[in-house]
């Protein structure tokens, strides 16, 4: 496995960089490629949900199933594109777009009460009743000037999360 990184040419790396809006340096992409090969146990060129879940730190994450559902079987480009939202070079807008995509599971560009409830369910599990979740959500929605029937679009998310100082950064280890 040690030599796989040398298989990436400059062209390959540039292509991947383009795909992820240059969120990662060439070195970082080489590192990510090594990691990708490590996770891709079957060597099929994509990582299955099963292979992702073999990382215990990921498997215990409350949102892991939801993230895996966003893409089924990730190739290297998708892998990098997914992680690009966590790059220190990504803008707040890109990060919020990513969060929005996590909420917007059907991809119609609108987030309804239901979508938010689903994420909240992932995060809180059985420790809060369905009813309580609905109450809490309705309460904070109304406080922020929305109703429980509001459909939130990306610009709403920008308004709500834009000035909270999102800390969503993951450092790619480079050797």
């Amino acid at each position: 496995m040690g030599n796989t990184s040398s298989m990436l040419t400059q062209y390959d790396i540039e292509e991947v960089q383009e795909h992820c809006n240059c969120s990662f340096s060439q070195q970082e992409i080489v590192s990510l490629y090594q990691r990708f090969c490590q996770l891709d146990r079957s060597g099929g060129g994509f990582i299955s949900a099963e292979e992702f879940l073999s990382v215990p730190e990921f498997a215990v994450n409350p949102l892991s199933q939801r993230l895996l559902r966003m893409l089924d079987g990730w190739n290297f480009k998708e892998f990098v594109a997914f992680l690009s939202a966590f790059s220190p070079r990504a803008t707040t807008q890109q990060k919020i777009e990513f969060i929005f995509k996590v909420y917007d599971s059907d991809g119609n560009g609108r987030v309804a009460m239901n979508d938010m409830l689903e994420v909240l369910r992932d995060l809180t599990g059985q420790f809060i009743s369905e009813q309580q979740r609905e109450q809490v959500l309705t309460h904070v929605l109304e406080e922020a000037g929305y109703t429980k029937d509001s459909l939130l679009v990306l610009s709403d998310f920008m308004k709500i999360l834009g000035n909270t100082g999102l800390k969503m950064e993951v450092e790619v280890p480079v050797d």
Binding site: G2, R35, V55, A59, N61, L63, F86, I99, G125, F127
Partner: protein, 374 residues
Amino acid sequence: MSGSEKLTSSSSELDLDRPNIEDYLPSSSIQEPRGKLRLRDLLDISPTLTEAAGAIVDDSFTRCFKSNPPEPWNWNVYLFPLWCCGVVVRYLILFPSRVIVLTLGWIIFLSSFIPVHILLKGQDELRKKLERYLVELMCSFFVASWTGVVKYHGPRPSRRPKQVFVANHTSMIDFIILEQMTAFAVIMQKHPGWVGLLQSTILESVGCIWFNRSEAKDREIVARKLREHIQGIDNNPLLIFPEGTCVNNHYTVMFKKGAFELGCTVCPIAIKYNKIFVDAFWNSRKQSFTTHLLQLMTSWAVVCDVWYLEPQTLKAGETPIEFAERVRDIISVRAGLKKVPWDGYLKYSRPSPKHREQKQQSFAESMLRRLQER
């Protein structure tokens, strides 16, 4: 919670001696926010997402089982011919002569072990003594077959009841290296193939106990056998690798608490391999034990240090888990290993849903608390 069913571990896997990860993990890595709950606090899932992405980019668990290929040094015009000479020497001179040594060892061992085993049925004491000696001898032949340069530090273990030895685990050769000095009775996973055959015939005679990792029934039997074994005065000292799996000698995974619940003295042994010639980590996913041995036998030498450390006993008010962690600390410090809060068995199974539930619980509680605040 639709995903959690998928994560439920199989029923055959009883948690008899399985440590709880919660006991080891820091309570929560996500910082507790304060103040009144707002919409943006609920929608902001970035801490959880960041954790997930962090685990995808790099995680301490996978790192424990990564083989580290030796650094190549054949990169220039005059080093390359030297390296080639080395390959010729290693494969054409060292390897065949080591095979001869090993074969010789087997011939000597079997031709004396079989008669001793059959003829001395009546005299148990003498037979035990001879068998013990022969197994040690055979292990010396094995160590010689990869020119093991082993430095032992500290007092040599002696036989006495109510003590167990625990060591960090890198490869099955740990056992051979320790066994050549002292005939330990070891507790190990049952292996297939020729290793399994050795386990059930020869090593049985020094009191070794074999089990199958995934069999719940086996675990109970092992636990019982363990308790019986440590009571015997003339039994060989017991050796346990509490990690339960081979780790790459840079990290230690959590210790199973079984060895620390027996109520006896625990003697830690730290083993550190020097990787200058060969990586002694046995990556059982990638290679069979035979290939692993061949790799060792075609290298210049296996260099390692073994430390027999100060015996430890359970302190007043200490739980077996805390005790296990203390011993793990001692071994990690001595051998220069990093500790990770993971159970090595996660190589074979998924973490149980309760770890995720713990995160959910703390999120839910903090949410409700902040809702009350005005």
